[in-house]
Amino acid sequence: MRTGAITLSIGSHSENVFLIGLAINKIAASIPVTEQAAFEMEVAVVEAVNNAIEHAHHHNPAKQVTVEVRLETDIVRFTIIDQGAPIDFEAAMDAAAGMENAPQIERGRGFGIIRALMDEIKYQRNGCANYVTLLKYLKQPSEP
């Protein structure tokens, strides 16, 4: 598998998010994963970008959401960076864990979907920015 990194940025407007989604799907399609797995990476990243636009930047198109994609030999890392207020990550994860028990809720599924689709989610606050990193481990060809 080829390795590499790319950084994508959009203004915080929902109309722009599909561009990130399409890029992620195309990138994921280039690595040894199923079409379904590529779709799932696209959904997870789109959810994280939607969260940044809505909750961190309050739809201010002047604020940029950045997505760093790193393809490594056995892992794909997506880091979503925004300049919003710090995230109460623990509370978000607790709420995400409750998604299964309340499927009829109208809103608040984003982190639950990310959590279910990705292998790991990490959060870091650096300076004035939030860094949400989504990890997907790739099975090695020798694995059953």
Partner: protein
């Protein structure tokens, strides 16, 4: 989002014609549902056969419409592709909505 609406007896079929039902298209769909429910439509089939990508905003719009209909009405989903169906299962919305393989079976179920 472009929509196609078709009345079939008591049922209204709302077909999403764009491939993405997401944060940029969901508000318009929700607005249209509000108008249709306000006009008195109670049995609605949401045809997602053209949708290739759905996110939580699309799901929220559908749940909102279902709740808005209340006990007197119903919103069912027809024709979801494999990717969309996988998200409906993941979020357990396959237990909240009745889901049919195509609009014909959805409309037949709404007529009963």
């Amino acid at each position: 989002m472009h929509l196609e609406e078709q009345i079939d007896g008591k049922a209204l079929v709302v077909k999403l014609l764009d491939s993405r039902f997401d944060a940029s298209t969901a508000p318009m769909v929700k607005e249209r549902f509000a108008a249709l429910i306000g006009e008195g439509h109670q049995q609605i089939a949401l045809d997602m056969s053209e949708v290739e990508f759905i996110d939580s905003s699309g799901l929220s719009a559908a749940v909102w419409a279902l709740k808005r209909l209340g006990d007197g009405g119903e919103l069912v989903i027809s024709g979801p592709r494999g990717t969309v169906m996988s998200i409906l299962r993941l979020t357990r919305l396959d237990k909240v909505f009745r889901i049919f393989p195509n609009k014909e079976t959805a409309v037949a179920a709404l007529r009963r």
